[in-house]
């Protein structure tokens, strides 16, 4: 454990070393961006639970660990080591090991002409004029210390550019692998995805770890959805049970852009997933779909900030959580409707299943409406596996573990059903299946989570 001063010194040491050698260190705009962000981080430090946005999530375990950057010590992995994590049927796979692009492990597949899929570090060096107009332009480093830290330390990640009118059918799959190190290590992957007008694509971020140990992955993705684009983004977190993962997806939506964000949180010790779309153009649509499944002492925090900044935009948030053991889940759904965003239609639903007495969920809607002609609804439910449903299945011959699994899977399928058919959905389904099978099997006596009467509170509000 370290003190706040030691903590700052540790980051300062890391930063001065990093800044000298980082990709693009000679570019004044990038140097300024990093320095400003680092200054911001030093000023505010890590958030505490006194901060409203972090009320339910204590990050002192991250703050009090002296993480080191891993970018100077590249780790070599073999194809075989990665095989179990690959997604079958996907030809375009970029691999990042501890945040650094691993070209030898990546597959580029065949993409339509003009589509650029590469690493940000490389682009900063070879093509900075394409990066400068976008990098750091959408993310607000003042939002939290993690965004500031990522901007200060960000140098590599994925860069995707889809030209106007281009349809990319093949998913663009990004695999982020963390490996064990002697000392606690951190990485700050930074992704920039720019989809020009009238283009379509699917981007997948998948976070895995090869072995245990203290790792802290703090990632930021800026997704620029031009006018009339149709984009899907997946965030899959399945790191080991000691990993810290903080991620921010900042979506900038143009006119009539249709963006879908799927988050599937299955792994990690402390996970915070921020999804922050800004509906900046008229008639935009945004669907934020999420599933989080926690067990043991996992802490899974889903923070949504949906900003309606233009008229006639629609946003939908659907999050389902399944929590067992001592797991703690958070759903924080904040919707801001700006003054000019008339005819906004925003909806938010969070449903949770608690399978043990010690599992916990904090669910918090937060609506800030400054326009007067809008429709905003929100609701949340908390319950257990229904004893009646379980008995019904068992009374037809289905054994208890299978019956529990069926019910859990049915609950999870609500989220799965919002994903398009294809290799990514099959991959997610397989991961969820494995996760729920373990959960159904390991249920203590498989009875503690089931109560005859549903004592969970259920509430629905319309505002």
């Amino acid at each position: 454990m370290i003190t706040a001063t030691q903590q700052l010194e540790s980051y300062l040491e890391n930063f001065s070393e990093f800044e000298k050698l980082a990709a693009g260190h000679a570019l004044p705009w990038l140097r300024n961006l990093r320095q400003d962000a680092f200054a911001r981080f030093c000023e505010v430090g890590f958030p505490t639970t006194h901060d409203e946005d972090w009320r339910f999530t204590n990050v002192s375990a991250i703050a009090q660990t002296a993480f080191r950057l891993t970018c100077n010590r590249p780790v070599r992995l073999s194809q075989q080591e990665l095989d179990p994590y690959r997604v079958p049927g996907v030809n375009c796979q970029l691999v990042f090991v501890n945040g650094n692009f691993a070209r030898e492990l990546s597959l580029l597949g065949k993409l339509p002409d003009g589509v650029k899929v590469s690493n940000l570090g490389g682009e900063i060096s070879s093509n900075p004029e394409a990066i400068e107009p976008h990098l750091g332009r959408y993310l607000d480093i003042r939002r939290d210390a993690f965004c500031a830290l990522n901007t200060a330390f960000g140098e590599d990640g994925a860069y995707v550019h889809i030209p106007r009118g281009t349809l990319v059918e093949e998913p663009i799959y990004l695999l982020f692998v963390s490996t064990a190190n002697d000392a606690p290590s951190m990485s700050h992957p930074r992704n920039l995805i720019v989809a020009e007008e009238d283009s379509q694509a699917t981007i997948v971020e998948d976070y895995v770890s090869l072995d245990g140990g203290a790792v802290f992955c703090n990632t930021v993705t800026e997704l620029v959805a031009g006018d009339h684009t149709v984009l899907s983004h997946y965030m899959i977190e399945r790191e080991h049970e000691e990993a810290f993962n903080i991620s921010t997806l900042r979506i900038q939506q143009g006119r009539s852009a249709n963006v879908v964000s799927h988050s599937v949180l299955l792994g990690g010790a402390l996970v915070r997933n921020n999804v922050h779309p800004v509906l900046a153009g008229e008639g935009g649509e945004c669907l934020i779909n999420g599933l989080f499944i926690g067990n043991g002492h996992q802490h899974l925090d889903n923070y949504m900030l949906v900003e309606h900044a233009s008229p006639r935009c629609g946003s939908r948030q659907f999050y389902n959580g399944i929590l067992d053991g001592h797991a703690h889940g958070v759903f924080h759904g904040r919707i801001i409707v700006h003054k000019d965003a008339q005819k906004t239609d925003a909806k938010q639903t969070n449903r949770n299943l608690l399978l043990s007495d010690d599992a916990q969920i904090d669910t918090k809607p937060q609506l800030e409406i400054y326009a007067d002609d809008v429709k905003c609804t929100h609701g949340a439910t908390i319950g257990q596996i229904e004893g009646d449903a379980l008995f019904y299945l068992r009374s037809r011959g289905i054994d208890e573990v299978s019956a529990r699994k069926l019910l859990l899977f049915a609950f999870a399928s609500e989220c799965l059903d919002r994903m398009k058919q294809g290799p990514v959905r099959r991959h997610v389904e397989e991961l969820i299946n494995r996760c729920l099978f373990q959960m159904a099997n390991s249920a203590p006596g498989a009875s503690t989570g089931i109560r005859r009467d549903d004592t969970g509170r259920n509430w629905e509000e319309i505002g």
């Binding site: 008995f391 068992r394 009374s395 011959g397 289905i398 299978s402 069926l406 899977f409 049915a410 005859r452």
Partner: protein
Amino acid sequence: MSLLEIKNLHVKVDNHEILKGIDLKVNAGEVHSIMGPNGSGKSTLAQVLARRETYAVSAGEVSYNGRDLLAMKPEEAACEGIFMAFQYPVEIPGISNAYFLRSALNAIRKYRGLDEIDAIDFLPLFREKLKLLDMDEKLMNRSVNEGFSGGEKKRNEILQMAVLEPKLSILDETDSGLDIDALRIVAQGVDAMRNPERAIIVVTHYQRLLNYIVPDFVHVLLDGRIVRSGGPELALELEEKGYGSMEAEARHATPA
């Protein structure tokens, strides 16, 4: 040996005694009807036989096919051939009716050492039973009972019974809330399953269903006890006189 033999069964719910000593023998090939007013313990008896664990058996024994039924889990009882049609079929969002039924059938087949049936082989069997109950095939791709009307739910129960082919079926107020057409279809579905190897217990409040499924025996359950047993004519007598007279009779007969 009787298929089902209940001896002196006492059952408590929340420390309150619901069944106060039930004795009943059911042989293969027989149809028994258990009639009684609300709160007499009919549904409790049905649920105990289906092995709902929330009911505590405080005394008595139940043997089924020569085995101790009370030692079985619900899934084990089902695999051994017991089926209860629920009074209130449960809605299960997210699981399709077809998938549910096939899973149930395969669980039972597996228990009996038979091969599992895949979706393709399952279809013809399924269609035949759907026809028997005059059910729309579209209901099969919908979630189990979700958004089904009352009549559709009850028919769905009998459909499950027809697919799973139990040895002992317990129909728990399957007639309640059904209009006469639906009642006829449900009753025909049940009647089609009568054979010398199977037994059926029809739990009901009213006599109407028994016009279609004519029982071999009728038992009147009052306040947790079987107070009278007889042939099908007993159901008619009940219809005529109501439970009131029998209640009075029972009070009279029971020593204070």
